[in-house]
Every structure is written in C-alpha cells, then in structure tokens.
C-alpha cells in the first residue's frame, strides 16, 4: 500500500543524547577489522589534531538508524518493516564523531515515492552535539518491497 505523501517534510523530536564511549568505538573498529590507531589510541588521535579517539566514518549509523526507528515504527505512517531493505546510505560530516560526544538526532522524512509497488522512504538524520553544533548528517533510503503476487 502506498505511503501517505502528507508525511513528507515531517520532522520528529530530537532523540535523547547518545554518549559515545571509547570502548564502544574500539569494539566497532575491531568488528570491522580496522586497526587505524585514531580509533583506539587517544595519543595517536591527538597527533592528528583530535581531542580524543574518533569513530570510523560509518559508526554513527547505529545512532541515526535507531533514531529513524521513530519514523519506521510510526503507526500512522504504516511502513511494513518486515519487507524493508536498505537502498542507499550517505553521510556528510562537519567533524568526526569522537569519544565523549553526547549526540542527538533529529529525523525528517525527506521523500516518499512509490515505484513498481515498492514504497521508497528517504529519511534525513541531523546529528548535533550537546553544544548544538552540527556533527554529521545521515541520509538513509529504505525500500519496502512490494508483496509477491498471491
């Protein structure tokens, strides 16, 4: 069923702060097998000009996607999440996410399209730190596949 176009432009309330921990960054870096010392060694990060260890570029997705849950699970929107696949993903960074950040995400529905029975949903997540400074914007395209013909 096509999603309601009137949801385009809807912005959801900012999420409670997510505190970025050094060990969570380390866990993520190890999970992707990336030994870059900027992720685990505060001294190495400082040599690059960062106040503490930084997170790999895609780390923030865990935070923005959780925030997008407000949209995905909005009963008024009525998305069938069991049929959703991740179509596109993009990030634009003002600065890297780093340990100690307290990040809040504001999610907005940028577009809703229907293509060959598939519902396509574009969600933008604006990530700010506790001082209100922009850190990164994440764009997530979700595709809810049309049910198979009975």
């Amino acid at each position: 069923m096509a999603l309601d176009q009137s949801f385009v432009g809807r912005t959801y309330p900012p999420t409670p702060a997510y505190e970025v921990g050094r060990e969570k960054i380390r866990e993520f870096a190890e999970a992707i097998g990336d030994a870059n010392p900027a992720y685990t060694d505060a001294e190495a990060a400082k040599e690059l000009g960062h106040p503490d260890v930084i997170a790999p570029p895609t780390f923030v997705f865990a935070i923005t996607f959780k925030a997008a849950g407000q949209v995905i699970e909005d009963p008024q929107l009525g998305l069938d999440y069991s049929r959703v696949v991740h179509g596109d993903q993009k990030f634009a960074y003002t600065r890297p996410v780093r340990a100690g950040d307290r990040l809040s995400v504001t999610s907005t529905i940028e577009a809703i399209k229907s293509l060959a029975g598939n519902d396509i949903l574009d969600i933008r997540g604006e990530v700010h730190d506790e001082t209100g400074e922009h850190v990164v914007t994440a764009w997530t395209k979700l595709v809810s596949r049309a049910p198979e013909e009975a």
Partner: protein, 142 residues
C-alpha cells in the same frame, strides 16, 4: 585534520591502494553486536532463505564500513572523509563453509574539487558481482 596525502600530488585517475576484506559468519555476528543490527538475515540461514535470500548476507553497513577503509588508510586521518555515500546493489552472500566471502575494493580519484578536496569513486565486488553502486567519497587532502 591531518591527511598524509597532498592535494597537489594527486590527479584525476590516481588509484588508491586496493583492499581485500574477508567476511565469515563470525565476522557478521561480531558486527551485529558492535553495530546493534541483529536482523536475522545476517546470522540465521533458515530465516534468510525463508525471506527469499540465497543464504545469510552481510550487513550492507558492514560492506560500506570496509569499502571506506581504502580511503581512510590512504588519507591517514579518517577525518579527511567529508562525505561518503553508497547504493546497496547486490548482497554479499556469506556461506557457512568456514571460508565465507571476500569483499574486494578498489578506488580512484575521479575529480579534483575546490578547497583541497577530491572525489574518490569506489568499486566493491564480491564473488565477481558489484555489491555497491554510486559509491563515492569526498576527501579533504593536505
């Protein structure tokens, strides 16, 4: 931000050192835990087949994370990446055969932009299939 590659030293067509990233079921379980994405299509073969997939598949975000390593290793400082986007075109199928799959990533400078930035286009394949499309990063060099 302290990239180790100088803008003046790269040209359109400059190739970055390529990367080869193995992925097994254990890799996916570990990534699920670290990322919080516990969708069973990434660890439960029975479930994956029931929803029409050939087998367990890697998280798209795992593939995205591996691909950008070619850029962050090249640039030195991961903060050199100012934009990064991909399209998930084909899944990375990860069989439970003790071997798993391999993601192969190559990248080259596609355009020189203002402000010491370059656009890098990435190619990621697994089992001979392109798994990412429109895979591009904007990188600020020294």
């Amino acid at each position: 931000m302290t990239a180790k590659i100088a803008y003046d030293e790269v040209e359109v067509g400059t190739e970055l050192p390529a990367g080869t990233f193995p992925v097994t079921r254990a890799t996916l379980v570990r990534y699920a835990g670290a990322s919080g994405d516990f969708n069973p299509i990434h660890w439960n073969e029975k479930f994956a087949v029931e929803v029409g997939l050939p087998d367990v598949i890697a998280h798209g975000m795992f593939t995205m994370a591996e691909a950008i390593r070619v850029v962050t290793d090249w640039a030195g400082d991961p903060a050199a990446v100012v934009e990064y986007g991909v399209r998930f075109t084909k899944p990375v199928v990860v069989p439970n055969d003790g071997v798993g799959a391999v993601i192969e990533v190559s990248a080259k400078v596609a355009a020189k932009l203002d402000d010491r930035q370059v656009r890098v286009d990435l190619t990621a394949t697994s089992a001979g299939q392109k798994v990412l499309g429109m895979s591009r990063a904007v990188v600020r060099l020294a």
